[in-house]
């Protein structure tokens, strides 16, 4: 239980220097941002290092920030070190025009479907993924539905005929 967020940050900065930025600790979880091409190197280091030992991949997901120029898509990894029971959040930002990010499937078998899901909803192109196809949506879908440019239907819209939906009308 000796591993602390400060120690992790120190180890990572020693190794990678300027590649890693944005160290934060929201709700106690160390959060950092890696340059796009370094996500796999950082994760490999976190995995292999005898002190850090982040060998469990909890989650991969993405977030869309349409207003951030050239870093619209964020890929978020949650990693866990079971021995020291400490978690870490790693973020990588990619432009929506070229959302190529290296895959983590060689490191964690669980990354396979998580990356497929992230691709399915956000269109992140995981370079080197063995089978990057849609997983939850239909194969024919030609857009990435969780992106912010696809808003949900306005619940206050009035152009629908309510009678068709079992509400209102003259019954």
């Amino acid at each position: 239980m000796s591993l602390t967020n400060e120690r992790i940050q120190q180890r990572l900065t020693e190794k990678f220097g300027d590649v890693l930025t944005g160290f934060e600790e929201p709700f106690g979880m160390l959060t950092l941002t890696a340059q796009k091409d370094y996500n796999l190197k950082v994760m490999q280091f976190l995995f292999d290092d005898e002190e850090l030992r982040f060998r469990f991949l909890t989650d991969i997901t993405a977030v869309h920030y349409p207003d951030r120029k050239n870093e619209e898509l964020a890929v978020v990894y949650h990693l866990h070190n079971f021995q020291d029971n400490i978690r870490l959040r790693l973020k990588v930002f990619a432009p929506v025009a070229a959302p190529q990010v290296f895959t983590a499937t060689q490191l964690y078998a669980s990354a396979n479907w998580m990356e497929r899901e992230t691709y399915d909803f956000y269109g992140i192109d995981f370079v080197g993924h063995p089978n990057l196809i849609r997983i939850l949506n239909v194969d024919e879908m030609n857009y990435f539905p969780m992106r912010k440019e696809f808003p949900l239907e306005d619940s206050m819209r009035i152009d629908k005929d309510d009678e068709m939906f079992g509400r209102g009308g003259n019954i």
């Binding site: 709700f27 909890t58 989650d59 079971f82 078998a109 669980s110 939850l136 239909v138 969780m146």
Partner: protein, 406 residues
Amino acid sequence: MLDQKQHIKLPEGSIEKNTTTLNLGPTHPATHGVFQNILEIDGERIVSAVSTVGYIHRAFEKIAERRPYYQVTPLTDRLNYCSAPINNMGWILTVEKLLGLEMPKRVDYLRVIIMELARIADHLICSSVMGVDTGALTGFVYLMTYRELIYEIYEEICGSRLTTNIGRIGGFERNFTPVAFQKIERFLAEYPAVLKEFETMLTRNRIFMERTQGVGGISAERAMSYGFTGPNLRAAGVDYDVRVANPYCSYQDFDFAVPVGTTGDSYDRYLVRNAEMWESLSIIRQAMDKLKDLPSDVYHADVPAYYLPDKQDVYTKMEALIYHFKIVMGEADMLPGEVYNAVEGANGELGFYLISDGGRSPYRLHFRRPCFIYYQAYAELVQGSMLSDAIVCMSSLNLIAGELDA
């Protein structure tokens, strides 16, 4: 002959091939849910498997981006619908963590009771369905009676049975009634004998053991690589339990063991689940004892800005009316922030990754669904095994379609 062949239009390579393609699912009774496995079988031996999921994908993450926080709770019901209260609590705890709300001890203990009941309800289904899939229907029908009793307890607390929407941000919507406590006591009194009987029937049953031992085994290392959590990981020998690793809801006040297996096969998963049911019973017992020392009228925290007030107060008090209006219209002041919160779901670590920009609904909400993550190991688990073993392996993993697809 040649003409006929052209007329049928067989897929390329299908004449030469020595294996058979078999669709296990999406509506096969043994899948216990809507998902498909395309198996290549050589006789009865599985050569390879491809899993297809997404049949009941309902885009909850997208829907949640439009809903005020308190309206997300019913969405979480429909993830693992066998233990909906744990999902509800997981979501509520996430929001409370974001807002920094502290719950009174009594609320924590009531939540622990309801979560452990849900865990028992989930595990008893899984364990008894394993019996069904190996040919023993009796245990299933017998244990169902007690799931029914658990559902009656839910009903007494929140009014619904399967998709519970139990609890509110800041506590519970109403206090537990005396009848609810009576029913919990009845459950605690009757269930141990039933579970004992069930275990007597299956645990050392020769047929059951031969059908499950060595079936779908996985090493601890592979299980971790595949992101297994919960009973499936513990069956492989890794003692990771979110309740112990990152205690939430005052789980640190309780004394319980984390059962682990060794081989990670279907039999070990069954044993771990059964052992966990005993631990859950003990936790509920401890919680009921702890409740006796606490004031019996506390069922929510004093956080009027976030806790949906009693309807009676809304009609009679100005402040309650204002807060009610603000919460219902999604105008409650949510704090911006980024939070990951996990609870020990019945299938493993159920995580909620929430990004709030301070608006009325989450900016982004992601569910870490344990089922979805460990189901990808299925192809590896069944490769080279018999078709009937694949069925047992599937039921021992406790796959819930709602949680697979979100």
